[in-house]
């Protein structure tokens, strides 16, 4: 099966499931599909850094959580009508998704710029450990930040609004998340074929040669890292909106690990990898989590089997092309 068909089939499956659930009146299934779409969006962000850029970031929960907190902070100020003071300025909170998304994207891109600029001075295993450490820094900062809930997190009363939609209706909110995911995947697909994506791919495989033709691997990778962080941050804002809750758990290193798991489960560097990984993850979480309290052990065993015996993930198995790295 060619990769294009795998991608289209995965998208069609994600779209068909909630439509079936709507007809069968199973709102919880729509929520599960929404969760899968949002996690797929977060992992699509990570896939740009991890798959195309070859940057193994174990700190992407930082961007996910920053997006979540952008939503939590803006919405909580809107619901208490207390303006947000930024030094000399006073800004009102907002419950409008487009504004929240812009703030989430800007804040997580800025964080990615700072973390990336420092971490990309190194490579390989240093990069993994440093991104992990910076992720943990944001985690501890959020737990000690009592103004916004500290360890307990921050909940909001109603889901934020989007012009022309009623986001409280599950299927409408799903449609919105699906559309954002589709846009992000289109962007990633275009990026892989664009000069920037080709140069980035080359910087992963042969940095010395990229440097020799006059391009800077550092700047290419930093740009990819910022784009990657921004998309994951946007997903964080949606995820917090889905749960109407944000807490330091979104910033935890387990979250970073799970995002990597989503990408690898599906297939590294594949367009549909994050989507298939997220769908599988949510399904496993739902079925195994319902069957046994210790479902993480089974998840671990499945992961080990995939790493040791099925490199290339599900997409690699389906297309019969194995691993795309190397």
């Amino acid at each position: 099966m060619s990769e294009r068909w795998v991608t289209l089939a995965a998208l069609a499956a994600l779209l068909a499931l909630p439509l079936w659930a709507l007809a069968a009146d199973e709102p919880f299934t729509i929520t599960l599909a929404t969760r899968a779409a949002i996690l797929a969006l977060a992992a699509t962000g990570l896939n740009i850094a991890l798959g195309t850029g070859g940057l193994v970031s174990l700190g992407h929960a930082a961007f996910f959580g920053i997006g979540g907190y952008a939503m939590g902070i803006l919405a909580s100020h809107a619901q208490t009508f207390a303006p947000l003071s930024l030094g000399p300025w006073e800004v009102p909170g907002t419950q409008s998704m487009p504004v929240i998304w812009l703030v989430a994207i800007a804040a997580s891109a800025l964080a990615a710029l700072a973390i990336g600029a420092l971490s990309l001075r190194t490579a390989g295993v240093y990069f993994i450990m440093i991104t992990l450490a910076f992720g943990q820094m944001f985690f501890y900062f959020a737990t000690s930040w009592r103004a916004y809930g500290g360890e307990d997190g921050l909940s909001i009363w109603v889901r934020n609004g989007f012009p022309g939609l009623n986001t409280l209706v599950p299927i409408q909110f799903f449609g919105l998340c699906f559309a954002v995911l589709l846009l992000a995947m289109l962007l990633h697909g275009r990026l892989i074929r664009a000069p920037f994506g080709l140069a980035l791919d080359a910087a992963r495989q042969a940095p010395a040669r990229v440097l020799a033709v006059g391009l800077s691997p550092y700047r290419l990778q930093l740009a990819a890292f910022v784009l990657s962080g921004a998309i994951t941050g946007l997903a964080g804002a949606l995820y917090a909106d889905l749960n109407r809750f944000v807490s330091p758990a979104m910033l935890s290193w387990q979250m970073s690990g799970e995002l990597i798991v989503l990408v690898i489960l599906g297939g590294v560097g594949r367009l549909a990898g994050p989507l298939i990984g997220a769908g599988l993850f949510v399904a496993l979480e739902h079925w195994l989590g319902g069957a046994t309290e210790y479902w993480h052990a089974w998840l671990g065993a499945i992961l080990l089997a995939i790493v040791l015996f099925a490199r290339g993930g599900i997409v690699g198995l389906l297309t019969g092309q194995g691993d795309r790295r190397g």
Partner: protein
């Protein structure tokens, strides 16, 4: 703020630092020799702590508990190395991260299944409990002082092992050129298993020793693992000396930052804001330290040039 308080906090920082060193030394050794990034090192720490708590509860002997921690962690290390890690040496770091992340999930869930979610308690032995009066009139817990002593002794032992013994020569040769020492007739597979078991035993020892001050519970290893990563990033990957210096720096910064930053902020702002800002900043202090070291030396204080 008295001088005694400051000295006490310095001792606390040293104690935290040497325990971090036990973790970081194993990690850096495993990375240096096998080129493996092992996220599951925190699980071996947890295995040591649980083994110690279990044996201490059954026999009442703290020394037996420590022996159990060493043996259990080393055994878990040997099993993990021969079943999983061995297949990962030739893989890229992404596969190693994922496989060892999977191992964390498995270890944590199995431990939760076997021991439950409630924390266990491990008490220091009677002959190490209670305070001792140090010169200068500082009363300090004997047990924590013993931890500092054990940490320093292990550090010295590791230095002697790598610099003064035949095994140490092989380990260092393995770091430099594994094909060559394999060609010279050293069983490289066995050497790897041995190094992994040694690192695991150190992690298990740290888990048991620290378990007697804190509670023994599932997930106790990961915060320590991440601190140990910060330590070896600061010290330079592969360098035991770097791990030692980095561990002390991180231990002292973490402990002293929590005490002094709020006090420092009180000089410029009101107490409530100062406590809040100090707490936030001190939780970030070791990461700021790491960033500064990275800006100055991207491969750490004692790391080889990239």
């Amino acid at each position: 703020m008295s001088l005694i308080l400051i000295l006490e906090q310095v001792l606390n920082g040293l104690q935290a630092g040497v325990m971090l060193f036990l973790m970081a030394a194993g990690l850096t050794l495993i990375f240096g020799v096998m080129g493996l990034i092992n996220l599951a090192h925190g699980s071996l720490y947890m295995v040591g702590a649980f083994a110690a708590a279990g044996v201490a509860a059954a026999t009442g002997s703290f020394l037996l508990a420590l022996v159990a921690a060493l043996v259990a962690a080393a055994a878990a290390g040997v099993v993990v190395e021969t079943v999983v890690m061995r297949r990962l040496y030739a893989r890229d770091h992404l596969d190693q991260v994922l496989a060892t992340f999977a191992l964390i999930l498995i270890f944590s869930e199995l431990t939760r299944w076997a021991f439950g979610s409630f924390p266990l308690y491990l008490n220091p032995p009677d002959w190490l409990s209670g305070p001792v009066t140090l010169p200068g009139g500082i009363r300090y817990p004997v047990y924590r002082l013993a931890l500092i002593g054990i940490g320093l002794a292990v550090g010295l032992g590791l230095w002697a092992l790598t610099r003064r013994t035949r095994l140490g020569i092989r380990i260092r040769a393995g770091e430099n050129d594994r094909e060559m020492i394999a060609a010279l007739g050293v069983d490289i597979g066995r050497l790897y298993t041995l190094v992994f078991a040694l690192g695991a035993a150190l992690a298990g020892l740290a888990g048991a020793l620290v378990g007697a001050i804190q509670s023994v519970q599932v997930g106790m290893g990961e915060p320590v693992l991440i601190l140990a990563f910060v330590v070896i990033v600061i010290g330079g990957i592969g360098s035991i000396r770097g791990a030692f210096v980095g561990a002390l720096l991180v231990g002292l910064t973490d402990t002293l930052g929590g005490i002094f930053l709020p006090e420092l902020f009180k000089l410029v702002t009101d107490p409530a804001t100062a406590t809040q800002a100090g707490a936030s900043l001190s939780s970030m202090s070791i990461y700021i330290l790491m960033s500064l070291v990275l800006i100055w030396r991207p491969t750490g204080l004692f790391g080889a040039k990239a």
